[in-house]
């Protein structure tokens, strides 16, 4: 029943560094546990393989993109096979180029109209410019072209995109946007969101990715005009449901950028690196300056030209997986022209044209022109060849597209908000 000892440690405050050490250890452990959890949550599903089967060039050799292809990366050292984005963001130089070159999703060319276009697809006007991958992390923002080379290194309002004290969240969490850099107004038009603040969106449906993109990008201030900490403006692209009014809006609607065709994205498709039939590109003269391929002088050649890869046994193949065989060279000719397996060879399509039976290539009239430009990384894809062919012979017109969405369904004729209530 003794009252408490009333001595108070005032002039001798026990600093108790031991208690401090204990507390700091606990804090460190809690932080490490959080890091481990975050790592497990966000990254395991982001693991991307370096071993993509093919390097593809599905887009036209359009003027603004010509110099993209001039940087060969054949000297790149052997990279590790499996890397996730965080590890990849630590890569330097050639390795980084090689890795990033394979991370973009590339649309096939639209050679026929998919079913349920109005139900299952989005459409938007593709801005003309340089396609790039924008990564913001650790206080800087880096944009890389399709071949992995750096376009800009700059501060931005993207998460961790600039060195600023007030940024919230872990500095090493990264964000990755799929963009097109539009020279005229020096703006990055964001066409897809791949990672956001460390959250991977690779295996999310396009519907969700666009929703997330729309709701998150504006929050950051990245869409504001340039400032000291924000060198380039980012901008969203209006995305429509591919019904009649959506398609019309994308085709004729006015946008602040120069259009280069229309892109169609399947709503349910994940972000798939490499070429995919679940994203499609379509062009005509009204919505693109670059409908037909040009040569190195920017002229449209009289005959359509194709680049094919010479494979074992003289087979001439497209870059698709599996490849489409366009013909065969005989050994004598190969020897004579110093061609060997793996060469990229340029041909003109002759008067005989391309003969298809049931959608399959039956015969191609190919005239040898020579080896392809050294900067070319790969052969043309089948869809590209076919689209270029159809442009010259019987193009797929906007009216055909409108007709297909009209006949399919006319119940929804409004621009639909892409909104999910997950």
């Amino acid at each position: 029943m003794a009252p408490h000892d009333l001595r108070r440690p005032f002039k001798r405050p026990l600093i108790s560094d031991q208690e401090k050490r204990r507390q700091q250890s606990l804090l460190r452990q809690a932080q490490n546990r959080r890091d481990a959890q975050n790592h497990a949550r966000f990254l395991a599903s982001t693991a991307l393989s370096l071993e993509q089967p093919h390097e593809l060039e599905p887009e036209p050799v359009s003027a603004p993109e010509l110099h993209d292809e001039l940087i060969p990366d054949s000297e790149a050292p052997e990279s590790p096979k499996e890397l996730d984005v965080v590890e990849a963001s630590k890569l330097k130089g050639a390795e980084a180029r090689k890795w990033f070159a394979k991370q973009l999703m590339h649309p096939e060319w639209m050679i026929d109209i998919p079913e349920n276009l109005s139900q299952d697809w989005f459409v938007f006007a593709r801005p003309s410019g340089k396609r790039c991958f924008v990564v913001s992390c650790n206080g800087t923002t880096i944009s890389r072209l399709r071949n992995g080379s750096i376009l800009h290194r700059f501060p931005s309002e993207l998460p961790n995109g600039a060195r600023r004290k007030d940024s919230s969240g872990p500095a090493q969490s990264y964000s990755i946007l799929d963009c097109i850099f539009h020279e005229v107004d020096q703006t990055y038009y964001v066409i897809d969101m791949v990672c956001w603040r460390g959250y991977s969106l690779y295996d999310c449906a396009a519907e969700f990715r666009f929703f997330w993109l729309n709701s998150k990008l504006a929050e950051t201030g990245a869409c504001e005009p340039p400032s000291h900490y924000h060198k380039y403006r980012f901008s969203l692209v209006p995305v429509y449901c591919c019904d009649q009014s959506g398609l019309c809006a994308a085709y004729t609607g006015s946008v602040p950028y120069v259009k280069d065709g229309l892109l169609f994205y399947n709503k349910h498709a994940h972000y798939q690196t490499g070429i995919t039939p679940l994203a499609l590109v379509w062009k005509d003269e009204n919505c693109s300056q670059y409908v037909m391929d040009t040569d190195s002088k920017g002229q449209v050649p009289n005959h359509q030209q194709v680049v094919l890869e010479l494979q074992e046994g003289g087979k001439l193949c497209t870059s698709d997986d599996p490849p489409v065989v366009f013909g065969c060279l005989d050994g004598g000719f190969m020897h004579e022209s110093e061609l060997h397996s793996g060469c990229l060879v340029r041909f003109a399509i002759g008067e005989g044209g391309l003969v298809l039976v049931d959608g399959k290539l039956e015969k191609a009239d190919l005239n040898y022109l020579g080896k392809a430009n050294r900067a070319r990384a790969s052969a043309d894809s089948f869809s590209k060849v076919m689209f270029q062919y159809s442009v010259r012979h019987s193009p797929l017109r906007i009216d055909d597209l409108l007709g297909s969405v009209n006949s399919a369904a006319d119940e929804s004729n409004k621009v639909c908000d892409i909104e999910m209530d997950g």
């Binding site: 029943m1 009333l6 600093i15 460190r28 949550r41 599903s45 969240g169 999310c204 349910h268």
Partner: protein, 870 residues
């Protein structure tokens, strides 16, 4: 048998060791063979006035120990054992005990009052012995004084023993009436009065209802105040102790009496004996404690609510209180700075002054400054010391704006005094005051720094010089350096004004640790603490010097381990603890950046070997420090830590088995997490052993409960490290998690401590689920987790419904929802969509202001939309 007991009890206190041992053995046998008879014999012995005082006293003591124990699990056993005894026998024992209260032997009376309280402590909560209070009080007035005293003491002990809710108000009223009457000045016997005052002290907690009744409260307060004027010093002191207890228990009822109490305490502080004056000062310190708490709850925002309103007693009494306290500062003892346990009126007065400053803030400054100016340069050391002490005391509380000009002005004076003052007392207090200046008015957060590159050199030079002074002064100088360094802890890698002196400071501190008198005044400890803080605030420029420090500290540790082979003592162990602590800080600092980590890793093997040797010593403190350091080392080393595992494992297991020093156990559990993250799947060979031990720990009722939440979190760490290999532990871990989850889902009626504990338990359980789900992600065995999903979702739902999660639990809980969806994918889609958590809870979290909660919620939303979109 009863005849024999007396002799055995006497023999048990014999000088002859053999005889004593025999007697102890006999007692043990007797107890084991026939407990009821044993207890009855002891009660009989205690009650029998014919028996020798020694045997009666020991009988009472053994009886008491048969009813209560310190260790919780033992205590529960004893309670059950008593409850299961034959009621008739217990009635007989209790009758003997009550009879003993009237014994002429003072020892017997005082022993039995404690035994009665222990029995009451068991029986009253079980609604047994209802007649106890009545029979104690039935004829208290007519009893002879010694019995009255014993009865009042018994009431006091009972009040200490049982919780207020098991005594009905009628009995409380009777107890208080008897006690207050016993305190009344009409009671002529001082022993009875003293017993009554002490009983009131214990009974105050029972008097809620009585303190709410104005008349009864007035009466109690009047008697207590009157009792402070008793001619007997012990009674006066006990009465002030009651006032101190009332100040914290019934703060909100004090307003009508505060003026009278001020007069009483002022008189006591001025005139009364020190033991009484100390209690009088404590009354005001205690009022400060209350008001600081209340104002903290207001949080500076007066619209916010606190359960108890602030009456601003300190603010109102300020102009009288401060002079009274300043007066006490001049009453120092000559040797108070050398004696670590010293406590006197000057120290209590300064302490109270510091609390007053924290309570009222700026208002205290003008009341204290004249005293300081008046005394600071006087020839008498008492005046100089008192003035310095006053200044140091008021440095916490007032605003930096108010203090900065004063401190800037005083700084030079203090530095000179620390060098030149002839009095050790003055130097001691001066160094302490400098430490307080640095603690409260220096740091990167303050607008106008009192320390600049210009005066930094002088400060460091003086402190280093002062470290060569007598131990108590040197210890304070080390403390001042600690706070000087701490001010730069948040400066990051930027250069600090301390950088140029880094090497000198480290050298000076190491020299202090080698002083022969370093064990006095905890000087060595203070030097290592300061060294740790200096290491913590090192930056890119000074990091190479920290790298060089590592082998020096390792050598010291090596030397103590060598010395230990010759002789081992407490000091040696303490030193090992300090050295391991210092190494831990070095490892954590150097391990936190890649370049320094690279340089440090050259020492990793040697350092680990040293830590393993420390485990050979028997000191819990050294173990704890070594274990913490190993955790930091594992984190820094990463997967290479695997090479130490074969040797380290046995100590890891030992740590997990250490129930007694539960801190060691808790820290070891944390280190298991570190090792899991370092080794990842390489931990697998050790997991059987670790999991077995952790599961044992969880099932033990001996282990302190605070270790259980980290054990659950540790399950998560293991699962995350070994992934689907956790499969074989699911069968054991999941039911444990499940039953713990059910227990922790509801907190209704629990007090704050319990709610806090429950939340930490929930967090541990949720972290376990998180780790397990994430660990299995992408494995072909994810479906093994499906059967547990409904329960996990139910747990989340019930946590959400309960609405008493703290932010940490909320964040972890919403994360688990995401982990479940992420790992189980579409097969859990329908389950998830049925849960409340995936809707309302998620929605709330998405709009949370807490950044971490929001982040987790967005992740969960993403994972869920993936799971249900397939």
């Amino acid at each position: 048998m009863a005849m024999e007991v007396t002799q055995i009890l006497l023999n048990a206190q014999a000088v002859d060791g053999a005889l004593r041992k025999q007697a102890e053995e006999n007692l043990k046998q007797f107890q084991e063979q026939n407990l009821p008879s044993f207890l009855y014999s002891l009660a009989g012995e205690l009650a029998n006035d014919e028996k020798p005082a020694e045997s009666r006293k020991l009988a009472g003591l053994i009886l008491k120990n048969a009813l209560d124990a310190k260790e919780q699990h033992r205590k529960i056993e004893l309670v059950q054992r008593w409850l299961s005894l034959d009621p008739t026998l217990k009635a007989q024992i209790k009758a003997l005990l009550l009879r003993t209260l009237s014994s002429p032997s003072v020892d017997a009376r005082s022993t039995v009052s404690q035994v009665i309280a222990k029995v009451a402590g068991i029986e009253l909560p079980h609604k047994q012995w209802p007649e106890l209070i009545g029979s104690l009080l039935s004829n208290v007035h007519q009893l002879p004084a010694p019995t009255r005293q014993a009865t009042l003491e018994t009431l006091g002990y009972i009040c200490e023993e049982v919780s207020p809710d098991v005594v009905d108000q009628d009995h409380v009223n009777k107890i208080l009436t008897a006690v207050v009457q016993g305190m009344n000045s009409t009671e002529e016997n001082n022993d009875v009065r003293l017993a009554a005052v002490r009983a009131l002290y214990n009974a105050l907690g029972f008097a809620q209802a009585n303190f709410s009744n104005d008349m009864e409260r007035d009466y109690i307060m009047r008697i207590v105040c009157e009792t402070t004027l008793s001619p007997d010093v012990k009674i006066r002191r006990a009465a002030f102790e009651c006032l101190v207890a009332i100040s914290s228990t019934y703060y909100e009822k004090l307003a009508p009496y505060i003026q009278d109490i001020f007069n009483i305490t002022a008189k006591a502080v001025k005139e009364d004996e020190e033991q009484v004056a100390l209690q009088a000062i404590e009354f005001w310190s205690s009022i400060c404690d209350e008001e600081i708490d209340i104002l903290e709850e207001y949080g500076g925002d007066f619209s916010a609510d606190s359960d108890i309103p602030c009456f601003y007693f300190i603010k109102q009494a300020l102009s009288f209180l401060v002079p009274m306290l300043l007066e006490t500062l001049l009453k120092q003892d000559e040797d108070q700075d050398q004696d670590e346990g010293a406590w006197n009126i000057a120290m209590a007065g300064g302490t109270c002054l510091g609390l007053v400053a924290r309570t009222v803030g700026d208002d205290i400054v003008p009341l204290v400054m004249p005293f300081i100016q008046e005394n600071i340069s006087k020839p008498d050391w008492r005046q100089r010391e008192a003035a310095t002490y006053a200044f140091g005391s008021i440095l916490e509380g007032p605003s930096p704006e108010k203090l900065e000009p004063l401190v800037t002005m005083a700084l030079n004076f203090m530095l000179t005094a620390l060098m030149k003052d002839p009095s050790n007392h003055v130097k001691d207090t001066t160094a302490w005051t400098l430490g307080r200046m640095f603690e409260f008015l220096h740091g990167t957060a303050l607008d106008t720094p009192i320390i600049t590159p210009a005066n930094c050199q002088q400060i460091v030079t003086v402190l280093i010089q002062s470290m060569k002074d007598v131990p108590n002064v040197a210890e304070k100088a080390c403390g001042a350096l600690y706070f000087l360094a701490q001010g730069y802890e948040d400066a990051g890698s930027a250069s600090s004004p301390l950088t140029p002196y880094f090497q000198d400071i480290v050298q000076a501190l190491l020299t202090v640790t080698h002083r022969e008198d370093a064990v006095e005044s905890r000087l060595r400890t203070a030097a290592y603490e300061a060294l740790n803080e200096v290491v913590r605030c090192s930056n890119d420029e000074t990091a190479p010097m920290v790298v060089q420090l590592a082998p020096l500290i390792m050598l010291e540790l090596h030397n103590t381990l060598e010395n230990q082979k010759v002789s081992s003592d407490e000091r040696q162990n303490e030193l090992q603890g300090l050295l391991c602590g210092c190494l831990q800080v070095i490892i954590q600092k150097l391990g936190s950046s890649e370049p320094t980590k690279y340089h440090f890793m050259q020492y990793a093997d040697q350092i680990m070997a040293l830590f393993l040797k420390v485990f050979a010593s028997r000191s819990a403190t050294a173990h704890e420090e070594a274990m913490l350091a190993i955790g930091a080392l594992a984190y820094a080393t990463g997967p290479d830590f695997a090479k130490y595992m074969t040797e380290f494992y046995k100590y890891l297991e030992m740590g997990l088995q250490n129930f007694e020093d539960y801190q060691v156990c808790a820290i070891t559990v944390g280190v298991v997490g570190d090792v899991c993250r370092a080794l990842e799947e390489k931990i697998l060979p050790y997991c059987d052993g670790i999991m077995t031990q952790l599961l044992k720990d969880l099932s033990s009722n001996q282990l302190h409960r605070s270790v259980k939440p980290p054990i659950f979190s540790c399950f998560g760490d293991i699962a995350l490290a070994i992934g689907e290999n956790f499969e074989k532990y699911l069968l054991y871990a999941m039911p444990m998690l499940q039953s713990a989850a059910e227990l922790s889902a509801h907190t209704s009626g629990a007090d704050d401590d319990m709610t806090e504990y429950t939340n930490s338990l929930r967090n541990g359980i949720l972290e376990a689920y998180s780790g397990i789900f994430q660990g299995f992600k992408g494995s072909p065995k994810t479906q093994l987790l499906m059967p547990y999903a409904p329960h996990v979702l139910q747990f989340l739902d019930s946590l959400y419904m309960e609405k008493d999660m703290d932010d940490v639990v909320t964040k972890t809980a919403i994360g688990v929802l995401g982990d479940l969806a992420d790992t189980l994918g579409s097969s859990a889609g329908p389950l998830i969509q049925q849960s409340v958590s995936s809707k309302d809870f998620l929605k709330e979290c998405l709009s949370s202001d807490d950044h971490l909660i929001k982040e987790s919620a967005e992740w969960a939303k993403l994972a869920i939309s993936r799971a249900i979109s397939f």
